[in-house]
Symmetry: C2
Subunit: 575 residues, 2 copies
């Protein structure tokens, strides 16, 4: 009865030495536990997101050289692992190697050329190839049995060789919040192994959740690995169809998001070798959620909260910041910025440059991040965070070198409503007490950079998040443009199409002109300054399929299609 | 004798309305001049670098709708233009359309699916297809002749249909400094038309130089368009093989770079609608070259030079800044930063954070850009520049939100020696006087952020540009790693391999340990903090095939291959 081990290992992209050391350990462990075979993820040796290293001949050679070491270590155990294979033109290909007793059993199974156009996914995976695997069978007569196996690379559906007795899938893909598509039933047992860890394409940081699992011949789940955890699991091949069927626990979106972000932040900090985190806290929701999150990752003793009031910051938000810091037990500094802002204005006016109120707003934001937070972070040997959410990032409602600065934007793939959900989730399920004061959840969202944003008068951001979250999601995640939006508005289908609550369009926009002015304002922001700011924004922790950074963007300004302009003219004519 | 017009037009990416208006005008102009045919560049309707718009169904439809308008406008003239063609799966393909008298002559010539993996190039272009073109022939009997034409898309070599009488190439590609590969001889006349303008992929701004030209059947140049200029040129098809052969003028690298950068900056500013530019000038070479460049683009009256001394800035560099501003005739402000830096340190120490000298260096850099320059730019309604060069960008020798900030890095695809060359070129050929003071060219490059960088004592940057420019180019443009570098060092071939002057390795590195320490220091910087800083750096004006931004990069830290470590051990053993 062949015993198969599958290793949901943490793959460190660009470090074949580190990955190989781990693989060799796990081979020993699997052998010691009596496994006949051990399986590692797709691209377990190089990692998937290795950036410029795909173009380095020496890196490719290095991966081959470590691959040879793994093959050599396959004494008395079949080792299946993902690495690159270099073709006659020196191009690297995604490949699966199968070795036993120091030799490859067959030629490697070759997937697509690397890197993929969209680096986070396997693409154009070929049909699977089958190989006959010699596995020890511990039946009384001690005979060696052969099993035909089909190999699948990545997440794509592939067809399976008819003669194979079971399937092995090696993959390596980032976490995505939302529905998981059902695993295809191949009509025979499937053992699927995938990597955990954090990989990045520069601007976008992807947590990999693993999701390794075993399915029976009816496509039902019979064993699975904890998400985001390294583990070596075992299954008896001939038992798979007799094992009880499992249902993975159903979780809320916030629980899934929290775990992915917490893991992603933790691993990323570890990768860059940083243990201390500085967070500017305003008394608003985004910085409060960031603070509660980072305390879970590095501990309260390593989180520095800094409140930096100007004359526009209310006692209300200052008190809420203070309460937050007390609840979390972090170090807490208050560093006022008004003197510095006044001095900057004085210096500029001294050389004849007059400074408008709008410019003064952004001076405050940059003073906080580039003058104070960056210096505090460098002084304590840590980093400071960017607390932007996806709605702000979409329309560039943030100041470059100000609140749009930091080592990582952990919340920038979350819409504002998801940030609120996360606040409530952390209070209820993680801290099990009100660490994020209810006042922060209840207060109107505001940048507090001018009297026009006075929270005590209920004034705040120009975004009505219960509507704009969904409008902006339509732009950023669905690739819809004002043409679709206006068409749905005209037919009354807008709220349903973008997924917001009914009645909001009528509530916020008394007439067509108001609706169109708002639509065009945010479309211009998304395609104009929003792009310019995203080019220089910090890396983003991805939890969706369309995080910024990974998204193809050009700084081309705003375009309205002819069909949009015609529809607009029909609705409001020459107005 | 058919007369053919070819339009080296400025294509505005993502704005089919603007491009179509231009195309319609040029069709009228060509017809008025008696042309039988007019040819427009590849992707003349949508542009090449349209970013997220490739995923917008409404954008694709819009391009088709404008394409129909162009087809409808082809009365009495054959119009050849690049647009997208949408296949049955709603995917856009690079395509050439040929229309006459309101109808397509044939099905469009289909190239590769869009977008290309590497957006700046056409890829996987198919073999050409031939079409028979009806062109008026003005011979005495007034007969209509048919000409078989082969259509080529992009810059790739393609094979040509044997029956075709001539070839038409439609392309659209960025300027690249350095050798141009010779145009393939197709054995018949070739008319090649390409776009000018500026397109971008977000982080990377590409000037398009055009390079439209006519070649005879022997592959010799007989007509060409001025680079970076919009023009409608004419050629008589039957005359091409009788036209005198031309040689385009030979130019220096600096002349080519200057023209590309000047054009790129001018067009980019126009695209983002900005006419005023603020530049922090230190008395060093990079900011001086930037100042002289921007004065040529927007005029001295729209350039604001700001010198921001701290206690570490020498009288020498302050005087040089002053002289530069006088020479250029720009507005000039001196805004000292020492008080603000002291106040920041005092505020931090006031809350118990102690500030090291190294942190104080970066406080100065951020104070200049994020506090002063950003506020001046916003106040005058302009932008401020980033003056980083490619050597600094490669190793992250710059401060984020400090000198690594700005709307555009116009010099960040130039090595330090190219910045010096550009200074000399502008003095000699553009200004024809010493606008950049010789003192700025002669002084040791220095950040002047501490006494360790005292220029009057000849101290400055840790980079020895005459060697490090070439080492870093090997990393950044050749994909060489320490493994190749150390191998060449060991065999004495290093200087020749990386292209620097002989004798420098011996001059700078007395022994193997010193050489290896330096190599590892900069490799760590390139693959470590350099990547982190580039993720948040301003857009870069590209003049090479491997500008940052376009280059695939991951923040994965530093890796040394096993072969490197073995070679190092051979050289220095356990030292």
């Amino acid at each position: 009865m062949p015993k198969i081990a599958y290793a949901q290992m943490k793959v460190v992209a660009g470090h074949p030495d580190v990955n190989t050391r781990k693989i060799l350990q796990l081979i020993d462990e699997a052998r010691a536990c009596g496994a006949d075979m051990v399986i590692f993820p797709e691209l377990a040796v190089p990692g998937r997101m290795v950036g410029g290293a795909w173009q380095q001949e020496t890196f490719l050679d290095d991966c081959e050289c470590y691959g040879a070491e793994i093959i050599a270590a396959s004494k008395n155990i079949t080792v299946v692992f993902g690495n690159i294979d270099i073709d006659v033109n020196d191009k690297p290909f995604n490949a699966i190697f199968v070795a036993r007793n120091g030799k490859l059993i067959d030629s490697p199974v070759i997937g697509h050329e690397l890197p993929s156009a969209e680096e986070k996914n396997s693409c154009a995976a070929p049909d699977t190839q089958a190989a006959y695997l010699h596995l020890e069978n511990d039946t009384s007569d001690g005979a060696i049995e052969e099993y035909g196996a089909s190999f699948l690379i990545g997440n794509q559906e592939q067809s399976v060789d008819r003669t194979s007795a079971f399937c092995l899938r090696l993959s390596s893909a980032p976490f995505v919040v939302g529905e998981k598509s059902a695993t295809k039933n191949y009509g025979r047992p499937l053992i699927s192994v995938s990597a955990v860890g954090v990989q990045n394409t520069g601007k976008t940081i992807y947590p990999f959740d693993g999701g390794s699992a075993v399915y029976n011949s009816r496509g039902e789940l019979v064993q699975y690995a904890e998400p985001f955890a390294e583990c070596l699991n075992f299954v008896e091949l001939n038992e798979i169809d007799r094992m009880p069927v499992l249902k993975p626990p159903v979780e809320t979106e916030s629980a899934r998001i929290y775990r992915a972000i917490r893991y992603g932040v933790k691993e990323f900090l570890e990768q860059i070798g940083v243990g201390k985190v500085v967070i500017g806290v305003s008394g608003g929701i985004d910085s409060a959620v960031a603070a509660a999150l980072y305390v879970q990752v590095v501990g309260a003793e390593n989180v520095y909260l800094v409140n930096m009031p100007s004359r526009f910051n209310s006692a209300t938000t200052k008190n809420l910041s203070d309460r937050l810091a007390k609840n979390l037990g972090c170090k807490y500094f208050v560093v006022p910025i008004q003197e510095s802002v006044d001095w900057t204005v004085k210096q500029l006016e001294g050389v004849g440059v007059s400074v408008s109120n709008f410019v003064k707003e952004n001076i405050q934001a940059r003073d906080r991040s580039a003058r104070i937070l960056a210096a505090v972070a460098a002084s304590v040997g840590g980093v400071f965070t960017c607390n932007a959410n996806k709605a702000e990032s979409t329309v560039g409602y943030a100041t470059l070198y100000g609140d749009e600065a930091g080592f990582l934007s952990a919340l920038a793939d979350l819409w504002k409503y998801q940030v609120y959900d996360l606040a409530r989730y952390m209070n209820a399920e993680i801290y099990k007490r009100e660490v994020i004061p209810q006042g922060i959840i209840d207060i109107v969202p505001s940048a507090e950079l001018s009297t026009a944003q006075n929270v005590d008068e209920g004034k705040g951001d120009p975004l009505r998040y219960d509507y704009h979250d969904y409008l902006l999601r339509a732009f950023a995640e669905n690739n819809w443009t004002p043409e679709e939006i206006l068409r749905w508005y005209a037919t009354g289908e807008l709220e349903k199409s973008i997924g917001c609550n009914a009645g909001l369009v009528e509530k916020y926009f008394p007439n067509e002109e108001d609706f169109i002015a708002d639509l065009e304002r945010w479309w211009r922001a998304f395609t104009g300054m929003g792009v310019a700011k995203r080019i220089q924004s910090p890396p983003i922790l991805a939890v969706t399929n369309s995080p910024y950074g990974a998204r193809r963007e050009s700084q081309n300004g705003t375009h309205f299609t002819r069909a949009y302009r015609e529809l607009k003219a029909e609705l409001i004519g020459g107005k």
